[in-house]
């Protein structure tokens, strides 16, 4: 038999015709559609649902909303498992599986509860005090391992999240946060003006606390008013109602982040809908109608299961039709708990007493009169001193506030109200200031410099009609701020003060041996606050961090103010002077998957493809990432390994001819009167004396003199140059050029256009490349007619006709080589034409691996390896490129002594001895067996097995490297467990005289 604790009737949210099955801690239960996991558990009599964070004490369900500190469960299984899910907001669906967390072997018998027995040894700051000896980092690392494994609550899923998330940007005139009656009234007011309005409500239903109340609004019962107002709003085309949507953060320029739970109820809509949708709403004005959150009163063992906040008790009875126990005691310091007492009474529980901290003469509300006429006993000027029970409250000790007249009441339910804390979180995030209101014992919003206006209960309003009047005024203020209508009225609502009057009782004097909890989630007690005070952690931010008050996933929604008040009492200053800790986003936890939205996996960044990509893919090549680009690694033949393929390709370039896709290089067209002067300022070498039809290698520095980028720049015409940059720096260099031309040197007539995407490029390389080219182009390519570093325009013969191209004679491999650039749309035609023309000469395509081998053999430097953000032109052996007769960026600081020290790390070549292989990232040392730390003389920057040299070779940066040529050193890599003897030589291994590329 299930749901034995469900009332025979009632429950505004549940649909008794739709039973749902679910599993909690391995047991099957039944609930109804409309239940939360918490209400369904309570309807099955399950109160003990969790173990606490530090002491592993039994904990139950405390609230009925997002503020829940205790009832956190592990939701789901496998990849969809999610820790720390609040049972109080989790909508029940058929087949839901959840489990209690932070307990072993079970929530009823938890070995970790030993911590509770040891609790006198575990005061606030226990870790800080205990684990600081011996004072070495190593000791802490050893302790940390154990502390970390003992900490935490739920377990994160280890598999990737299988669900989909999406982002939605939205703009509106007025964003209303909170869909209670105040929010609905504000939205209705704004909608009447034709404004674009978005209303987000964190729970499934609009109407908030008023749905179950007995209030009358505009002469109608509250539920009717709510339904009519929602219908009115829905009829406006420019109003968007977002249920299940939590506004969690308020950001610059009135951007509000909100998460909509789209399919979290388990209704799998053929996978077309995301699990959650992140809304980024840019609002002209925001109405914050976020309501207020009830808080507790600290007394002995106030954490026993069966102890709920009074408003939650009311909600479970009226909204979910749950019978919460058999005998109840209500404990309050304000009027609001009386409706809970009456609801309990009506639901058939025996209400043993309403323990009211106020004096008899102060208990004058209508609810108290009703309670008295119903025969309920009110014990004024009294408090609960201590509760007793093992895994459920069994009885409470009630004393008068002067400490006399102890009596014990048997009960299995305690409903507590310590007053309300307005949910000012987003107001505070919007840099709004707060003031402390002693009447309601709460912090209320003052003013914000941003476009946010508070409305309703968050302003302290306790009366529905006046909260609505306040919300209408707030809507008017928001509309004025949004520039929609200028009828701003005062937000002050005439009439009697409707603030809830709260006696400032925060904690009951402690009873020996019974913990009084302030923060249930982080197990912070009244005694911990006293310890923090005694030890000097008195500022609120210190108190928070020392005791961890309010640092749980609930961020202390039900507890922070109590801790602050206790500190203010101990300091003897007002709560206003103590202030609050900073409210930061998110208001409630946000699923990590919602933050990136669709931008995960392959969609984190765009992917860039060369015009020849499809051809490469058809060869079955593996692609490697080069920034955002995909480049072919190599072209293995059947049965051939990638390494063998790359070696074959590299050998073929040296022996015959190869072709490689170099479309990814950055290409920037520069035109205008002053391009030559501009390039002179940008590069360390001269470009004004470059003749038309020639290209030149150039090196660019950062402002501090360190090498930034390199590439070849061609002069196509007197005032027209084509710059190439490295693949990695193409975007950044373009940005720098824009900045120099727009900000620094606007007087220069230079126009820069990035054409990286517009041109496909291939490098044709090898001793037979000229013969291939001669088959391909309509110009004379003899050495005299088209010498090294020449540039021209020509036509390629392709299978589909003549194709105009730019032809460059430049070499990266060290061989006779050319680059062919054609418009991207013809890239593949060009590529196939080159392969066809080269077939009789043994042409092979080669990938990035062979390209790297060839450039290491030739001693060419690359970004990220040799150009590592620390090397100067001198370090790379290019000091002669620095033109002494002109200024350029970075040159003034090149003369600094440290950049010219004799022990600078300089570029050298390494050759491994005795057939060994130089390991990746090895460091260079004189003695491989030296005690650690072994003095480092340099490190390997690039390496390859060189078919040309017949050995493992590398480029390296080595202290005083050029002076060490001929010496022997050791390349060691503890990671690869390798010690390789290497000889130091020049960085160029192939054709140092350059006869091949000029021939």
């Amino acid at each position: 038999m299930t749901q034995t604790w469900r009332l025979a009737e009632g429950g505004s949210a549940i649909d008794r015709t739709h039973p749902l099955g679910f599993v909690y801690d391995g047991r099957r239960y039944e609930g109804y559609a409309g239940d939360t996991l918490a209400s369904a558990l309570l309807a099955n009599g399950v109160h003990l649902v969790a173990r606490s964070f530090k002491y592993h004490r039994p904990r139950g369900i405390v609230t009925a909303g997002v503020e829940e500190p205790s009832a956190l469960v592990q939701l789901g299984v496998g990849a969809r498992s999610e820790p720390n899910t609040r049972a109080t907001t989790l909508e029940l669906h058929d087949g839901l599986v959840a489990a209690s967390q932070n307990c072993w072997p079970s929530v009823r018998f938890d070995a970790g509860a030993l911590a509770n027995a040891l609790s006198p040894l575990l005061p606030a700051g226990f870790y800080y005090k205990t684990f600081k000896w011996p004072p070495t980092p190593k000791a802490w690392l050893r302790y940390e391992h154990y502390i970390r494994s003992a900490a935490g609550m739920g377990r994160a899923a280890l598999a990737p999240d299988p669900d989909r998330y999406e982002h939605q940007y939205a703009h509106c005139d007025v964003l209303v946060i909170g869909g209670g009656v105040a929010g609905l009234a504000a939205a209705r007011r704004a909608a009447q003006t034709g404004a674009r309005v978005i209303v987000c409500q964190q729970s499934p239903r609009f109407g908030g606390a008023a749905i179950e109340g007995d209030a009358t609004i505009e002469a109608r019962p509250a539920p009717q008013w709510i339904a009519e107002t929602i219908a009115t709003l829905a009829s406006h085309p420019d109003v968007r109602l977002l249920p299940r949507t939590t506004a969690y953060g308020y950001y610059d320029d009135d951007l509000v982040g909100a998460v909509e739970r789209v399919t979290e109820d388990g209704a799998t809509t053929d996978g077309m809908l995301p699990r959650q949708r992140m809304w980024m709403v840019r609002a002209k004005a925001v109405v914050l109608a976020s309501g207020a959150i009830e808080r507790a009163i600290a007394y002995g063992n106030n954490d026993l299961p069966g102890t709920l906040l009074a408003r939650a008790v009311f909600t479970y009875v009226r909204r979910y039709g749950v019978r919460l126990g058999t005998r109840a005691v209500v404990f309050t310091n304000n009027d609001s708990a009386y409706e809970a007492a009456l609801a309990l009474h009506e639901s058939g529980l025996e209400v043993k007493a309403i323990v009211d901290a106020r004096r008899d003469g102060e208990v004058t509300c209508a609810g108290a009169a009703l309670a008295r006429s119903a025969g309920l006993r009110i014990r004024a000027a009294s408090v609960i001193a201590c509760a007793h029970g093992r895994q459920r409250v069994a009885r409470v000790d009630v004393v008068t506030r002067n400490g006399g007249d102890v009596s014990t009441l048997d009960c299995d339910l305690v409903a507590v109200s310590g007053g309300y804390s307005p949910a000012v979180h987003l107001f505070s995030q919007a840099r709004g200031t707060l003031h402390y209101d002693p009447t309601s014992a709460s912090f209320l919003p003052d003013a914000s410099p941003m476009a946010i206006v508070a409305a309703g209960a968050v302003n302290g309003h306790g009366n529905v009609e006046r909260a609505i009047a306040n919300a209408v005024a707030a809507a008017d203020a928001a509309l004025a701020r949004a520039g929609i209508a200028n009828r701003s009225s005062s937000s002050a609502v005439p009439g009697d003060d409707d603030r809830l009057r709260v006696d400032s009782l925060w904690a009951v004097p402690p009873v020996r041996g019974a913990k009084c909890f302030v923060d249930l989630q982080n197990d912070v007690t009244v005694a911990d606050v006293a310890v923090a005070n005694r030890e000097g952690y008195q500022a609120v931010e210190h108190l928070k961090r020392y005791t961890t008050l309010g640092m749980g996933t609930d961020q202390g929604k039900t507890s922070n103010v109590i801790g602050l008040a206790l500190m203010s009492e101990r300091l003897g200053v007002s709560l206003a002077q103590v202030g609050t800790t900073t409210f930061r986003p998110p208001y409630t936890p946000v699923t990590l998957g919602a933050l990136p939205g669709a931008a995960s996996g392959a969609h984190v960044e765009p992917t860039r493809y060369s015009a020849m990509h499809a051809w490469h893919a058809e060869q079955g090549t593996r692609f490697v990432n080069a920034g955002l680009w995909k480049r072919p690694h190599s072209y293995p033949r059947p049965g051939e390994s990638e390494d063998d393929a790359a070696a074959r390709e590299a050998r073929n370039v040296r022996a015959n001819v190869g072709v490689v896709d170099v479309s990814t290089l950055g290409k920037i067209e520069l035109q205008g009167r002053d391009v030559a002067e501009f390039l002179n300022r940008l590069y360390i070498n001269r470009f004004d004396n470059l003749t038309v039809g020639r290209c030149r290698y150039g090196v660019m520095l950062r402002e501090d003199g360190i090498v930034r980028d390199d590439g070849t720049t061609s002069r196509l015409d007197d005032t027209h140059y084509l710059m190439t940059t490295t693949t990695a720096n193409a975007v950044a260099i373009m940005q720098t050029i824009e900045r120099l031309l727009q900000i620094d040197w606007p007087e220069l007539a230079v126009y820069a256009t990035s054409v990286t995407e517009q041109w496909a490029a291939a490098a044709l390389s090898g001793p037979k490349s000229r013969e291939v080219l001669a088959q391909l182009v309509d110009i004379d390519v003899t050495n005299d007619a088209f010498p090294f570093l020449a540039v021209t325009i020509c036509n390629l013969r392709t299978s589909t006709g003549s194709l105009p191209a730019r032809l460059f004679r430049m070499s990266y491999s060290g061989e006779l080589a050319y680059e062919i650039h054609v418009p991207s749309s013809r890239g593949r035609a060009m590529w196939e034409a080159v392969l066809d023309a080269g077939a009789p000469f043994g042409i092979m395509p080669y990938g990035t691996e062979a390209m790297n081998t060839l450039r290491v053999e030739k001693g060419h430097v690359v970004i990220g390896a040799e150009i590592d953000g620390r090397t100067t032109a001198g370090d790379l052996g290019m000091e002669r490129l620095v033109n002494p007769n002109k200024w350029c960026i970075g040159k003034p600081l090149l003369a600094r002594p440290a950049l010219n020290a004799p022990d600078r790390w300089q570029l050298v070549g390494l050759t491994a001895m005795r057939g060994a292989h130089i390991p990746r990232g090895a460091k260079l040392v004189a003695d491989p067996d030296h005690a650690l730390p072994n003095p480092m003389l340099g490190h390997v920057t690039s390496f390859c097995d060189s078919p040309h040299a017949g050995a493992s070779i590398a480029l390296a940066l080595l202290s005083s490297g050029r002076a060490r040529r001929g010496e022997t050193l050791w390349a060691v890599s503890p990671l690869a467990d390798a010690k390789i003897e290497v000889t130091i030589g020049p960085s160029v291994f192939v054709d140092p005289e350059g006869t091949r590329l000029r021939g």
């Binding site: 610059d252 951007l255 824009e738 900000i743 600081l893």
Partner: protein
Amino acid sequence: MMLIPCPWCGSRNQIEFTYGGDAGVRRPAPDAPESAWIDYVYVRDNPCGPLDELWYHGAGCRSWFTVRRDTRTHAILASAPAGGSLTDDPSADVR
């Protein structure tokens, strides 16, 4: 996320822009002493309050421009094209 008022495109989300640092820094003359270059490359004011700074609208018009931003509040007090006057109210022309 801040809204940055591009003088050419209007207010756009910050993700469309790249920050360019203090707009008041000027490159010294080529023959300036090394100390001037050290200041130019390494030394920056970090004011608590209004700061004139450069922004680049890389995902829009690719213009560099100047913005006066209060570093305490992120309030943008003015914006102008490179070389323009920062006295104008950015909301007057670009929204």
